[in-house]
Symmetry: C2
Subunit: 678 residues, 2 copies
């Protein structure tokens, strides 16, 4: 049994401070109890340390959670959501006592896990372990990048910390390893995490599965590591101050804590983790804490008065920053204008004029190459664009030419090397986007989108703009074989709500795909790109030409039309050329075939019924789709009478033209399938 | 520029040894050159160390790659596949020179990355980085478990090492962190990995993104770490011997190597990594290596003679083991019988007699609870079953009651604590299955199947039997909210080829789901289970009863039938009860509705056309499906005229009954939708 907070209160003399920390405990216990579900133990264990962080250090303005230079706070251990809700309420955010009492109820502002965009002051959605700390790395990276870009002597435009709390579970997850290693590499000195080392996870003691030396591991990453008693406020305060002075290394403060601290019977047990303490134990706990009133959700006025000083302090801090920004606008008008543009993620006027034009070419080029050209054309015009690749720059065509790599001592470059850390990359992208000022992109092979997937889901759930450059998008990558050949990945990305999955057919559609990604500001976009060359189609307004690629903005469009089409051929990406060939073969057989290029299902679903009907007229039921992947889902567009040509199994290692033949992705087969439907 | 192997040959005097190592270099260069694609640099860098491992230490019988007590060798850096193909050819496996020359061609036995089941001697499919080393942890775990179970004084039935080679990329990936941490925790002393520390990844120097202290990190995990010159065979030999004597810790041997070693112009550059060296550079390399003949694929006879001694040695070693096993069968007949049963993953006669019976109950129970009961009933009968949970035993109902946890000093338990390491768990399961003797299972929340996904895909690609217990399978989990509510996950698992995704409707179907999983020996099975209670349906052969749950063995079956059905209601899992209610509502409206329970699409697709037609008669086009997830894919079964009721967006935090109402997953809506189709 640990020393109780009240004893320590007496010892340290910070009676009011411990009263405030206990208020967090009480609100957390009571909130979980009322909801009949939730996690009281973590907030109770971290009440002391988080109180110190928020009271002494955190630079924030509860009245304006969007102040750009606020410190970021990430509760990576998101199940302890009552901790942050309590802190937000107590420090005066737009979150009421009634909100706390609605914890975990339909329509409330206090969901089971913290959700970005849902509760003011919540910087990122957490709950899936490991994501929060990795996302925080992205925020700290963004801070350092923007500070390098905008700060000038006497003008600290961007100068804030990224703080957070993580738990044992976060540090067991692989994604946190990836992000922490990169954070150490980049020497993100303003990233400071408290590690709630309570030695308890859901199954019981962490000794069951987690006995590594975490401190030593983080030192190996190049982090600055301190160990403190997480219930001793003085120790925590010294450690955070120390972490601030360490500017060359991210900091991990290992806070030894007791889960459920204050609860006489459940402290230090897994029972405190994920269920209400129960009325009896709550009563005993309040008694042990010398809590003045047993009424649920009771908080002494002096606590509120003390903690709400944050409102005044924060307003003053932001005001000082605004004054400084006023002077900055005079001293550095160009930079200030750029600042406004980037923070708004605004696309400058006529930005699209720089989009490259691609001449028709039978030989064509790979859409990954077209993407690289487009990115390089856009980069000067859209300075918010910042990203890189998970060690596949050359393959993903993600390099901005002429710009150096971002490194610890060089944050003025524009090319990030994420290392072979796809999952960490996705989470870091989320943090960059959430920080503001940046539109992040990250590249890897499409097959490894599986590694990124949990971060993609969070981007979609949060509605943040993040761009994935997934190349080598089918068996068309050839010899690397089935471990590298995505067959199910396009479909499995299409399934995630709010992700735009764009698989362009040729270079001009690739430029349009980038436009879609840049204009999709409330969710992520996945660009699905070929390794192999595809013809650059002859498009225009002449009768003998195919239609312009702008049609892709509507998700699907008639690429090649005929009068009174008897059959509709649908395709995306590299298979569009096959559909065009098939249409020609059908023409030779006197069958009129329309070809629909179908780069983005989600956009097509957003079009009105009249447009959708104009592309896929109900009366034309003879429809064949082709895609170099699983047919899964195409039934929706070809209907019961239609047919889908796809790859029903994993691929194989061989040159890609051989694979297309072996898997029957041919114009002849498509034409035959269409003719059979007549 | 490094010391060339030839110089070292002279220095160490092991001329023949270096000739053999150079043969690996030559075959790798020539194989990649002929294929016009591949990765020569890694095999050239690790030729010396891998030669030492295979020549001096590896216990294997090239004539019988399935010998149960062979050492396992895992090439985690799978892109260096020509390394293992060269070693397999040179040591006398059933892999010919012609096979090497067919590298990366259609139908060849030497695909771009090593594929399990495709090439004799390849223990696991690698290529996706981080998977190999994590899978190897599972092999080493299986070894220790089976050794504890079967070994007796003088009878070392299971007594082998698990070796492997990993690269920088493997160690950047989070999954390797998860598995390595657990390997250290479990003190898997017979796991020995060579780390090809060549300081080069695809983008260039690892200094671009990877400057952590790997040795220190692995020491923090509890590994035994040594650092050697990977081109000095004597150093490597001493280090491996030392690693063998260290029985309490897994070993990492950091082998400092030069990628493309031997190539005068490409050594130590990313150019050596992933493309052919080119004819000129190959000529220069062969010259630098003093290679006796420039003819592609030339290997001196003395190399083959020297390395093929493995055939004789291996045969003798296996023979000795077989003799020992003969004595073992006499001394320990019961154990020997159990050994045969487990190694065959055989289900004992009448094993299914132990499957629990569940009485009809309106209150019912959660299918996760039914799964726990089934698992506990099966565990005594099927000793091959071994698994656990990623820190959610209580939630996943994965605990075998009365059996202790497996810990470093206690490998006689049957409950694994994987920690909060879902991805590592999936890869470790793969290793356990590949080792032989075990049918592994692992549990987590369904939403975190996203974390496991890359390992699920490999299980499916390899065709190994692995069981996932994914609980909390929909918005039905309630208050934890959208971060924990899978909406797209059932569909996204159904997309992966060769995965059985089974979502049982009630307790009896859950028992059948386990039967499906146990009988699906050539691929993984995902059990999709509810958190919340569902009624245990009244099934039997009486006219007023629903049909028996055995129908689930065919993937989908008529659960409630009517004469001349006018409409078919399709559902899986917890929504089957809604479909049944809807059928009753329709009956009240004089509409005859058949209800089809649809737990497993993959199995239904394997049924013959007559059966499928009998369940879903073509003439009944009025069909409504309901699933507490995205409708994606159900179009295939409801057809163009049908309707799917699903959840089109992320969920929300609230009690689950409220969520079902808010998202319209109700019998009334389903009945209305069906009536509207009349």
């Amino acid at each position: 049994m640990s020393v109780s907070p009240t004893e320590k209160t007496a010892r340290t003399g910070h009676e009011l401070d411990y009263l405030c920390a206990n208020a967090i405990r009480v609100l957390s216990m009571d909130g979980v109890q009322k909801a009949k579900s939730g996690h009281p133990g973590m907030p109770m264990g971290m009440a002391d340390a988080s109180y110190v962080l928020w009271k002494v250090f955190l630079k924030h303005n509860p009245a304006d959670p969007a102040w750009p230079d606020r410190d970021r706070f990430v509760l990576s251990a998101g199940h302890g959501s009552m901790l942050i809700y309590s802190l937000l309420y107590l420090t005066g955010y737009d979150l009421s006592m009634e909100d706390l009492q609605q914890f975990r109820q339909w329509g409330s502002r206090t969901p089971g896990h913290p959700e970005y965009g849902h509760t003011p002051g919540v910087e990122t959605t957490t709950g899936p372990l490991g994501q929060g700390i990795s996302t925080a790395v992205g925020m700290a990276l963004a801070e350092q990048y923007l500070a390098t870009k905008f700060n000038r002597p006497d003008f600290p435009v961007v100068d804030h910390y990224t703080y957070g709390i993580c738990g044992d579970g976060d540090l067991m997850e692989g994604v946190s390893h990836e992000a922490a290693s990169l954070a150490g590499h980049l020497k993100l000195g303003k990233l400071i995490f408290l590690y709630d080392a309570n030695k308890i996870s859901i199954d019981g003691s962490t000794d069951l599965a987690f006995t590594e030396n975490v401190s030593q591991r983080f030192e190996a990453y190049g982090w600055h590591v301190q160990e403190v008693n997480g219930h001793n406020m003085a120790e925590v305060e010294v450690a955070i101050a120390q972490a601030q002075t360490e500017t060359e290394r991210p900091s991990l403060i290992v806070a030894r804590t007791h889960i459920g601290q204050g609860s006489p019977n459940k402290v230090d047990t897994a029972k405190a983790h994920g269920e209400p303490l129960g009325d009896d134990e709550i009563r005993l706990t309040k008694h042990a804490l010398n809590w003045p009133n047993e009424t649920p959700f009771y908080v002494p006025d002096e606590v509120v008065t003390n903690m709400r000083r944050a409102v005044e302090t924060g307003a003053r801090q932001q005001e000082e920053w605004e004054v400084m920004m006023g002077r900055y606008r005079e001293a550095h008008p160009d930079l200030a204008q750029l600042w406004d543009q980037m923070m708004a993620r605004a696309l400058p006027k006529d930005w699209d004029a720089v989009l490259p034009k691609f001449e028709p070419s039978e030989k064509g080029l790979a859409t990954r190459a077209a993407s690289g050209q487009t990115l390089n054309a856009l980069a000067p015009a859209i300075p918010s664009l910042l990203g890189g690749s998970a060690d596949l720059h050359g393959s993903n065509n993600t390099m901005i030419k002429g710009s150096p790599a971002i490194q610890a001592d060089a944050f003025d470059g524009r090319n990030l090397h994420f290392g072979v850390r796809e999952h960490g990359m996705g989470a870091i992208q989320n943090g960059m986007a959430l920080h503001g000022g940046l539109i992040p992109y990250g590249g890897t092979f499409l097959v490894f989108s599986d590694y990124v997937r949990p971060a993609v889901r969070l981007a979609a759930l949060m509605g943040v703009q993040s761009i994935y450059i997934f190349t080598h998008d089918s068996i068309g990558l050839g010899e690397d074989g089935p471990t590298h050949q995505p067959v199910e990945h396009v479909a499995s990305l299409r399934i995630i709500p709010n992700v735009y999955v764009v698989r362009p057919a040729d270079a001009p559609e690739t430029a349009v795909a980038w436009r879609i990604a840049l204009e999709h500001k409330d969710g992520p976009t996945a660009l699905i790109l070929t390794r192999q060359a595809v013809p650059t189609l002859d498009r225009g307004t002449d009768a003998n030409q195919l239609t312009p690629a702008d049609g892709a903005l509507r998700g699907a469009y008639v690429l090649r039309d005929v009068e009174n089409p008897q059959v509709i051929l649908l395709a995306s990406g590299s298979e569009v050329q096959i559909a065009l060939e098939a249409a020609q073969l059908l023409a030779d057989r006197q069958i009129a075939a329309r070809v629909v290029s179908f780069p983005c299902w989600e956009l097509f679903e957003k079009q009105d019924g009249a447009y959708r009907e104009s592309v896929l007229p109900s009366q034309v039921t003879a429809r064949v789709a082709i895609e170099a992947g699983l047919p899964f889902g195409w039934e929706r567009y070809v209907g019961s009478s239609g047919n889908v040509i796809g790859v029903e199994t994993f691929g194989a290692s061989a040159p890609y033209k051989e694979l297309y033949k072996q898997y029957g992705l041919t114009a002849e087969r498509m034409a035959d399938a269409a003719a059979a439907l007549m």
